[in-house]
Symmetry: C2
Subunit: 574 residues, 2 copies
């Protein structure tokens, strides 16, 4: 490819809204161009990179006996009503009426389409296990698209759906996909990625894993143990909480005046926050009069995801509307209005004497003891793990890092096959609903993740396996006949050797060429100049290390091939 | 691929709405499954075939220095307002509001997106000519989707956009794409396809060609000359009309009573239809009081597309609302109410004496002569070519065939670059709007066309270049250890030789296997049976010819490779 013809503009400045490295670099290198909020066009380098990532994904899916299919982007309401998701998914799903006034939607995931396709076609247990996948455009009307390709509204995704006779078979297959995902992320050149158990959320299953690229710009908080393999998404992460030691005391009401916060009350009473009980008020989503009060140890925070799971209801922070229960202030578990849903965190269970709100203004209790004073309370884990907390597996120290979700896999169970009435007959003739798994990877997200992790202050640093071009030739002084001839010859020779080459055929200075080459990030740069040709050599530079060497012109192709082979081998892409 | 695991159900019956061969066969072979009207899922064989077609298209586009990019499916209203198409395209374009109440649409074509991408990036004439293309999902809310993949609402399309400095450069490039299209259709195995000049319609350009597969199920009428290369879409086709000989006569009013139709009037007066002037009434679309009257020779029909072009207005047949002009009956050019738009077909121009309506009930004129009686009338071609008409190029005989549009190319001009304000500076520093061409091929339409043209009464007959699998192995009596071993061995050997193989591993009878193999249409079938193995042979059958031969097991791979190579060479795919 001739750089002069490439529709791809390199710029010094990034768009104003570009705050993170991958967004800045992909924009500055001309890989992406915004069309609307969260909607991008991709230029050739980006699309070529996307194609190489897709090829690696296909290879791994095909190796799992995956069958590539294609589901539609636009689907009718009917099949989404069977699973009830037409009604339960919010405004992130685009709905519209077609010209015949029928309700249609844009696919943001394809479980329904997968079951629709497989239903009736797969009718015998003999046909299981079976996996179908597609690489297709999806649209999710994100409220907070951001970060270039990190979180967009329209994206290309590989989504796969497997069908099984038994839970055991699903599990076996699930872990094969798990391994394939680790291979995929390694092969496309990601480094600091991990798998973590996750809450399966909207998908409605039970066991699930997210693959996360550890990155300070990630939106997800991940809990990791410094001492063992334990890691989990903050939403489901646990930690061991030591119960603070304190003697049993009588229950006593004490005046606390205008002091309301945990800090104020503990300070007034001279008590550690770990010995107080905090009340956090929520409302059931869409029902502002259905109040949920989460009680938790004063030094801890409530994990909303855990809370939702504990009460099987979606909650939102209480918005401050008038309510007798709230208005009195100083909410506590003792003498609480029975109309609220009270949830008790397990951090409170074994503390001998707690400070709690007295459910009336200006008073608290001290010496509260759940076992003695509220014997029917049940406890569950609704607390957020803290940085430095104790690992639930080995007792080591937990740390919290941010992560970008680069893939996810779910054991779905029979939610979709049951609701869509897909049955298969078993060896004994009896019919059953196949058990499903589903597996997603966003291609654009992968591109952004690579840019985010590998990019440096000069520009993109693209892995050999997915770089649009493996080699970027920069001839200096193209007005020198010898340079022009040798550089063009090298370009042809490399292409003949099956190597992807970008050729900077512009008559611009060395600085411009080097800056562009650094910014675009191809793995190998070759400089052909009057100076290098004086000794019949070219200069080969490896982008990621910056290492340069002079190589005899006659050896250049062989040398490049060796570098490519070595870098691909590192990525298990040979 | 093991057939037992393939998610693809072969059936004896096609869906009730399947009326044409390609729809019936693609459904019965399990290649497609309908999700909603005009919306399909594709199973693995279909998607594999789609992938092979896409690969051929990419090769040809890349050979034209095309840069593969990706535009979004969902676009904002703003960029479509610049070209005014947001307002001018009707309900076939899906529009919806996003969660922030912004107007969005689903792309049915991507001229605006292409200019949006190239704008500012391409800023110098040095960067021209330049072509960008994508292979992407499109949605067009067709009122009359039909015929399986022939006319759908959601489809995968390759669309390409080229940008040029001069009209000459566009033309040169346009004909390179033209040649590439001919190669693409040949390489994917289509046979009876032709290119024809077409009306560029919605795209707003001037010169355009459609590529048509001649097929009785096609929706387009194509005029072809039996004696020379002339061919054209009915919408723009011309033919030579001999002027019927008749002496000049005086203009006379004659009573014609209740006779109204051309047949009735000509019969009453004993005059040939060729000597009468027919009036066909239309109204400007959306304006029922703006009446257009097309006058044409009594034996001819009005071509609405030509009429629209002639008056640069969209028209619809007059719906019979009350109007003085119409209500009087017997409409004729002489003494016509001046408030209507009158259009005269050139077939009338030189006839010495015509029968025309007298613009009052129960009367006509005879002897009407345009040159004498309505000297200011101007004539244009608004007539439909008739089967058997005279070729405008060689005078030979024209025939009319139906065609399926399989591709189209347009010289767009500057409509989009002007309206979207894309300028590029020339060698002299002056800015200009690049001149565009655009070029489309529907991938699903290509699949349906192949099925339509090559399928026979047993099933699909897929060309070697695009068949999902090149070889379909049918082992008979898998309970025979020798058959099982040799068939499986052959399967592995063929795969090792880089051949795509489908292996029927089911324990079913020969009839079922042969019927499925015929229906699915892979180019080569290999039967391994106890009988063939008795002489250490397998039976190789070529699907398209039905020719069978016995081949020694040891030679099977080499023989298959030779057949594949020969068939690919025929398609210029070696």
């Amino acid at each position: 490819m001739l750089l002069s013809k490439l529709v791809c503009e390199r710029t010094k400045e990034a768009p104003q809204d570009a705050k993170i490295k991958s967004h800045i670099l992909l924009s500055r290198a001309g890989f992406i161009k915004q069309v609307a909020v969260g909607i991008y066009s991709m230029t050739m380098p980006c699309q070529k990179m996307s194609g190489k990532i897709q090829k690696i994904i296909r290879e791994e899916m095909d190796a799992l006996d995956g069958q590539e299919v294609l589901f539609p982007v636009v689907m009718p309401r009917e099949i989404w009503e069977l699973s009830d998701r037409y009604n339960t998914i919010g405004s992130e799903m685009v709905r519209f009426k077609d010209r015949n006034n029928r309700d249609m939607l844009l696919g943001m995931t394809h479980e329904e389409a997968a079951v629709h396709l497989a239903n009736h076609i797969v009718s015998s247990y003999n046909q299981l296990p079976m996996m179908i996948y597609q690489i297709q455009t999806k649209f999710r009307d994100e409220a907070r698209s951001r970060g270039g390709l990190i979180r967009v509204r329209e994206f290309t995704m590989k989504d796969a759906y497997s069908f099984h006779e038994t839970k055991e078979d699903l599990e076996k297959y699930y872990y094969r996909v798990f391994d394939a995902y680790n291979r995929i992320f390694k092969r496309i050149g990601l480094k600091r990625f991990i798998d973590i158990k996750s809450d399966s959320g909207m998908m409605g299953g039970s066991i699930a894993h997210e693959f996360m690229l550890l990155s300070e710009v990630g939106e997800d908080s991940i809990v990791l143990c410094n001492d063992c393999d334990y890691r989990a998404n903050m939403e489901v992460a646990e930690s061991v909480l030591d119960t603070p030691k304190v003697e049993v005391q009588p229950l006593q009401i004490v005046e606390t005046g205008q002091d309301k916060t945990i800090e104020e009350v503990c300070s007034r009473l001279g008590i550690a926050k770990e010995l107080s009980c905090k009340a956090v008020v929520f409302a059931v989503k869409g029902k502002s009069d259905e109040i949920v009060i989460a009680f938790i140890r004063g030094d801890l925070e409530v994990n909303e995801a855990k809370l939702k799971k504990a009460i099987s209801k979606d909650v939102v922070p209480y918005d401050g509307g008038i309510s007798d229960i709230i208005a009195c202030g100083n909410i506590g578990p003792y003498g609480l209005n029975k109309s609220v849903i009270a949830v008790y965190d397990k951090s409170l269970e074994n503390i001998n004497a707690l400070v709690i709100g007295a459910n009336k203004p200006e008073y608290h209790y001290t010496g509260f003891n759940f076992k003695r004073d509220l014997a029917d309370a049940t406890f569950c884990d609704i607390s957020k793990v803290k940085d430095g907390g104790k690992c639930p597996v080995c007792g080591g120290t937990l740390r919290i890092e941010n992560g970008i979700e680069i893939g996810n896999i779910f054991q779905l169970g029979t939610k979709y096959t049951k609701s869509m009435d897909m049955t298969v007959h078993g060896a004994d003739g009896a019919e059953f609903n196949p058990i499903m798994g589903c597996y997603g990877i966003g291609v654009g997200r992968a591109i952004a993740s690579i840019a985010q992790e590998s990019g440096d202050d000069k520009g993109l640093v693209l892995p050999m396996s997915v770089a649009p071009w493996q080699v970027h030739i920069c001839p200096l002084r193209l007005d020198d006949g010898k340079v022009a001839e040798r550089a063009a010859g090298l370009y042809e020779d490399l292409k003949k050797a099956g190597i992807d080459v970008l050729y900077d055929d512009r008559s611009v200075g060395a600085g411009v060429k080097f800056n562009d080459a650094d910014l675009m990030g191809m793995p190998i740069r070759i400089v052909v100049s009057p100076k290098s040709l004086a000794t019949d050599e070219v200069e080969i530079t490896v982008r990621r290390s910056g290492e340069s060497k002079k190589v005899a012109c006659a050896d250049a192709v062989a040398d490049v091939k060796a570098i490519i082979a070595a870098q691909l081998a590192e990525l298990d892409c040979d």
